[in-house]
């Protein structure tokens, strides 16, 4: 029954016009960035590298597909949650608003299966969004700008990664980025269980993300103990794959914290949904 219900969820997501907003938005946003970098990317690179010109000389194709993909990821990963929540935040509350949740709940399927199918479908949609971002950033980026070594500026200084050493880092980076977005998806579905309208969970998800990001960036000691456990702190963990040497412990820590968040959101949702009086 879980599989049948999941199949139903896929059909619904595929038929909803809002599901294509995310894909369309990514296509347009990445397209604009690619166009801008193609048109005037070198001046951007010169601005970044100017501080190193005294000590280093740069040769070859610095503005290559790998760097473009990194720039795109850095610019967009923080905005993807909205595109994810737009669909996943509607999965339960949208059905309540439409009244179809009433129809579903009178069928011989457990509420647990009904909700888990929504989590699975929401996860699949999130994966689609992240994969599409990957295709647009890495594949189209390399197609337009060619390949080459990746130059990354992080807190420890400049890291230069060999061309042959990059693809697996992108795979790892996108996997962790997916896990972070999956957490956003789980959060929005969880909030969706508490609401009977579509907008509430979407807005609340974004409000929580903004609040957590503010807490994460505020240099106030009172938040020091909280900050490492906020999922937003680990939303940028994909970047760790572009450090050398690889901070394995940090990555593992981020993955564990994101997974725990996902599990907590799923359990809260199941608890609420199974006890919810369907009055809509």
């Amino acid at each position: 029954m879980l599989l049948k219900s999941t199949y139903n969820e896929f059909i619904k997501i595929a038929a909803k016009p809002r599901s294509y907003l995310g894909l369309g938005a990514i296509t347009i946003l990445v397209g604009v960035i690619l166009f801008a970098l193609k048109a005037d990317g070198m001046s951007f690179i010169e601005f970044v590298t100017s501080s190193f010109e005294q000590t280093l000389s740069f040769e070859g194709n610095i503005l290559n597909g790998n760097l473009v993909a990194f720039i795109i990821l850095q610019m967009l990963v923080i905005h993807i949650p909205l595109l994810v929540a737009l669909v996943t935040g509607d999965l339960v509350s949208g059905e309540a608003a439409m009244g179809t949740i009433r129809m579903l709940a009178t069928k011989p399927i457990s509420r647990t299966s009904l909700l888990l199918s929504k989590f699975i479908a929401g996860g699949a949609y999130t994966l689609l969004i992240v994969v599409w971002l990957g295709i647009m950033a890495v594949v189209v980026g390399k197609f337009l700008f060619g390949s080459g070594d990746l130059m990354v500026l992080n807190s420890d200084g400049l890291v230069i990664l060999q061309e042959a050493d990059i693809n697996w880092r992108y795979f790892g980076g996108f996997t962790v980025a997916f896990l972070a977005m999956l957490t956003v998806s789980s959060l929005s579905i969880c909030l969706s269980c508490f609401s009977d309208n579509s907008i509430g969970p979407i807005v609340t998800t974004m409000a929580i993300i903004i609040l957590f990001i503010i807490i994460g960036t505020l240099d106030v000691s009172i938040f020091d103990n909280v900050r490492p456990f906020l999922f937003t702190t680990h939303m940028a963990a994909w970047r760790s794959f572009f450090e050398d040497p690889l901070p394995v412990a940090d990555i593992r820590n981020s993955i564990v914290i994101l997974l725990i968040h996902n599990l907590v959101f799923v359990f809260i949702s199941l608890y609420k949904f199974n006890r919810k009086d369907i009055t809509s």
Binding site: Y7, M103, A105, K107, D277
Partner: protein, 303 residues
């Protein structure tokens, strides 16, 4: 025991301090079209939601097919088809797709052919591929009926199925319910705030008011036991009053206005009264029953 399809026992549901349903008990037997009547907000939908486990009651229990809904929900719901309040569908999907979605989780093996056959049965042939967003309320009700019947349930629960329908739609739904009972031997729990509808379709009924059961029994007995109010229009009302007073002392004359008399009487007296009026050479222009089911309902709940 096998004849009891639904057994509701001392069901209560509170929303905060609001008492939506209080100690409601009733039984629906096999083959019944059971009318569940009450004014808007009387607690009909809350009771039905409890029966279908959409709402968890605070007290009481519900048994369907002899099993408790709280412990055997999955097996019970396989044999139940329902529309609660109004049928809601995925507006962005076609009628066919909507039925596919609900059929898939109804525990049946409905094929595309079954879906088309059912859409044809409810009069939606030719609209299978149309999105529900373009459907009228009546068409959605028909699609709701199709969704209810697709998996061939033994028990059908319809909550206000004729609300918002045009007269032809109401007649169609009534005929469909009677067909389900008479030709397919289905048991139907029909909730309606229109007593006339229940009188036409149901064989047994329960009246609920402010969350409490008021009266339960056979529709024919409950509704016919009442005193009839009859309006008689004659050429000579004075002579008519005299005749009634002499020969029918049990008849209570309530009002005389122009050439019309309003009398309260037993239904069985009407034929004799008519004969007596004709024999007394009183011209009768009209005899009209003024008994209104709504009056009956108001009398019941005010008692």
């Amino acid at each position: 025991m096998d004849d009891k399809i639904i057994e509701v026992n001392k069901l209560s549901k509170y929303f905060g301090t609001f008492e939506a349903v209080k100690d409601v008990s009733f039984t629906v037997n096999k083959g019944d079209v059971f009318g569940f009547h009450g004014a808007n907000g009387a607690g009909k939908s809350t009771t039905i939601r409890c029966i279908l486990s959409l709402i968890t009651p605070n007290n009481g229990d519900v048994k369907i097919f002899g099993e408790s809904i709280s412990t055997n929900r999955f097996e019970i719901l396989k044999r139940v088809g329902s529309i609660i309040e109004k049928p809601d569908f995925y507006k962005y999907l076609s009628a066919e797709r909507n039925l596919e979605i609900f059929a898939r989780i109804s525990g049946s093996d409905s094929t595309k052919k079954d879906i088309y056959k059912m859409l044809d049965f409810v009069g939606l042939n030719g609209r299978e591929k149309d999105k529900v967003a373009g459907f009228s309320h009546g068409m959605k009700q028909r699609l709701g009926i199709a969704q209810t019947l697709l998996h061939n349930p033994d028990l059908i629960i319809l909550d206000e199925p004729t609300t918002g329908l045009d007269p032809q739609g109401i007649i169609d739904i009534r005929n469909l319910i009677l067909e389900l009972k008479n030709q397919h031997n289905k048991t139907v729990l029909l909730s309606s705030h229109q007593l006339s509808e229940i009188e036409i379709i149901a064989n047994r009924m329960l009246i609920i008011n402010k969350g409490k059961s008021i009266i339960e029994g056979e529709v024919s007995k409950l509704l016919n036991a009442e005193e009839l109010i009859v309006n008689i229009e004659v050429d000579n009302p004075e002579k008519c009053v005299l005749l009634i007073s002499e020969h029918f002392p049990a008849i209570h004359i309530q009002e005389i206005k122009n050439n019309q008399l309003l009398i309260a009487t037993d239904k069985n007296v009407i034929p004799d009264l008519t004969k007596a009026l004709v024999a007394g050479e009183i011209q009768i222009f009209a005899i009209e029953s003024k008994r209104k089911l709504e009056d009956f309902f108001i009398k019941i709940i005010s008692n």
